[in-house]
């Protein structure tokens, strides 16, 4: 038997929920071609939704309102713009308004490089609205942890998945060293790239911390987050979504506010993700992350404030 991947973990968590926990799974084309990258088990309590993205989300919210703790599968995060109304205006508001939580587990799956409305990462939008828990697990144990968190709370949860993680079987531990001169805070699939960037920089003699961000909301700025930043003196938050008004900028601001150290943000540029290179506006890869770190460090050593 091979190592357990993120996809295996999602599938087995789902199987237990559907078979033994009276759970439900709803989504479009979930049983077609490959069962959503082998993340959905072939078992009972699966509901195939028609191509009604807005109504479909409302139907899933309705199932949550009667206690089924549904898993709602969104095959491409861009579709969240259609799904969002029932999630934002009902599920996320019901606890504060009525004292009744609406626990729905939204599997929002991201991809990269497959065009303008199939490559988006939209978790920032859900950080903006009150009432959600938002996370982006990229490793098997992380997925187990966020699932346990979902079961322990009664809030709607946006799980910003990425196809780049589905075959991953490794845990992504923080990389922290005393002689590091910069701390990277990667999110979503950029976490794999940030680890590679740290290796590239290490080969040049530049030590770099990598502090992984799993939870986007609530965002806990604790010693794990601030310690490496204070010791290294430079920070860069890297996200797979758009930089402008997004998670990278918001978290960089929070870190700066708490530590007084200027932290920069790096995400997608403010342009549409087109199909072909060089217009794909892909997520920051190791090369770009390493470049950004080098520029930051040069700027510091020349005494200036780094530009974004």
């Amino acid at each position: 038997m091979g190592a357990v991947t993120v996809a295996d973990t999602i599938r087995e968590i789902t199987r237990v929920h559907l078979e033994s926990n009276n759970g439900m799974l709803l989504g479009q084309c979930v049983s077609a071609v490959g069962w959503v990258n082998n993340t959905v088990p072939d078992c009972r309590n699966i509901v195939e939704l028609p191509m009604t993205d807005v109504a479909g989300a409302g139907i899933a919210v309705g199932a949550a309102m009667v206690g089924r703790r549904p898993i709602f599968v969104v095959r491409f995060q861009d579709f969240l713009v259609l799904n969002g109304s029932a999630l934002i205006f009902y599920a996320a508001k019901s606890k504060e308004l009525h004292g009744r939580g609406t626990p729905i587990f939204v599997r929002a799956i991201a991809s990269d490089g497959i065009g303008p409305v199939h490559s988006g990462v939209l978790h920032s939008m859900f950080m903006h609205f009150p009432g959600f828990r938002v996370c982006s697990p990229m490793a098997p144990k992380e997925y187990e942890a966020i699932w346990a968190d979902f079961l322990a709370h009664d809030d709607p949860m946006i799980v910003s998945e990425h196809r780049a993680s589905f075959n991953n079987s490794e845990e992504l531990d923080d990389l922290v060293s005393e002689d590091a001169v910069i701390t990277l805070y990667p999110i979503s699939a950029t976490r794999f790239e940030a680890v590679k960037a740290a290796e590239m920089l290490a080969a040049e003699g530049i030590r770099c911390n990598v502090v992984h961000i799993l939870w986007l909301k609530p965002l806990v700025i604790d010693e794990r987050m601030t310690g490496p930043l204070c010791r290294s003196g430079q920070g860069l938050v890297v996200d797979a979504g758009h930089e402008i008004a997004g998670a990278s900028q918001a978290i960089a601001y929070q870190l700066t506010r708490v530590t007084g150290i200027p932290v920069l943000a790096m995400g997608l540029s403010d342009s549409t993700k087109c199909l072909c290179p060089p217009f794909q506006n892909r997520i920051p890869d190791a090369e770009r992350i390493a470049d950004a770190a080098r520029i930051l460090l040069r700027s510091k050593s020349s005494g200036g404030m780094a530009g974004g």
Binding site: M65, S94, H98
Partner: protein, 296 residues
């Protein structure tokens, strides 16, 4: 074509009231009176600025909830924004509704939600609060029936019927034969824009084409109760009920007399049934109770 489906007599069954036992007719009327006199007290409180938050009044539309609450006792309720009558007729405690409208912590949602977002999870009533996004409750009702297997009644207006996701959700309910009675409280108005300016089609035709029984009737409470009794055994189904909103979309004001006055039609009918005296007593008792609730 819409034709001239909208009238006070559309689909109303002749002599239907006489087939109801007197106590049922009087109970329907009692529920109408509770809702009406609660809201007459509320209108006064609004005018005296004792209630300063927005209010969405059921005045003029009471018969739908009064009649259906007699028939759909064990149903979960997904209400629309105009929901005071639904809450009161299905058995929600009037004092808690008053407190919600005043923003008090003793309200149905601790005073946090308000007139268009009323919920009830007591007295054997399961009514989920709307949040004000038009028609949002329709997909939710469908998901709740799917998830629980329990029967559901889902109210919405003629405006909500135009939301794309409402049509899609009703289609899903038909596909899965879910136990839902969809009820359109059709007051012919989206704020002040009449149906004929907004669309050329009737929602009943859409529901029928999606594969469910439909009825198109005016708001005669005996007809509503009779048709609902028939439909509840063959769900999902759809009722389009023509009603007249007496007051503004939001707020206590009025724009002249409504197209018809169902409340007085019902009182005349009760008189013809020989129940005039009993009805007068029911009305006086309801009015007293609701007046007391709104006493300054």
């Amino acid at each position: 074509m819409r034709g001239n489906m909208r009238s006070a007599t559309t689909g109303v069954l002749q002599n239907i009231a006489s087939s109801f036992p007197a106590n049922e007719s009087l109970e329907i009327y009692r529920r109408m009176c509770i809702s009406r006199h609660f809201e007459l007290g509320l209108v006064r409180a609004v005018k005296e600025k004792r209630v300063t938050y927005p209010v969405y009044l059921s005045l003029g539309q009471e018969t739908v909830a009064a009649a259906l609450s007699m028939v759909l006792r064990d149903f979960m309720i997904f209400t629309q924004h105009r929901c005071h009558a639904t809450f009161l007729c299905f058995g929600g405690p009037a004092g808690k509704l008053r407190d919600e409208l005043m923003g008090l912590p003793t309200g149905t949602s601790g005073g946090r939600a308000g007139s268009n977002c009323i919920q009830c999870h007591e007295n054997g009533v399961t009514m989920f609060g709307h949040h004000g996004l038009i028609g949002e409750n329709v997909p939710q009702a469908v998901g709740a029936a799917l998830g629980s297997g329990r029967p559901v009644v889902c109210f919405f207006g003629d405006g909500a019927a135009e939301e794309d996701y409402v049509v899609a959700a009703i289609g899903f309910a038909s596909t899965h034969r879910l136990p839902i009675l969809f009820v359109c409280e059709d007051n012919d108005l989206s704020i002040l824009t009449p149906v004929e300016k907004r669309r050329s089609w009737r929602f009943g035709d859409v529901a029928a084409s999606l594969g469910m029984k439909t009825v198109e009737i005016a708001d005669d409470p005996w007809t509503i109760a009779d048709r609902a009794r028939e439909l509840k055994n063959d769900l999902p189904a759809f009722m389009n009920i023509h009603v007249c909103r007496s007051n503004w979309h939001v707020g206590a004001g009025t724009d002249g007399a409504p197209e018809w006055d169902r409340f007085s039609f019902v009182e005349s009918e009760l008189g013809m049934l020989g129940l005039g005296k009993e009805a007068a007593a029911v009305k006086a008792e309801s009015a007293d109770a609701m007046e007391a609730l709104w006493a300054p």
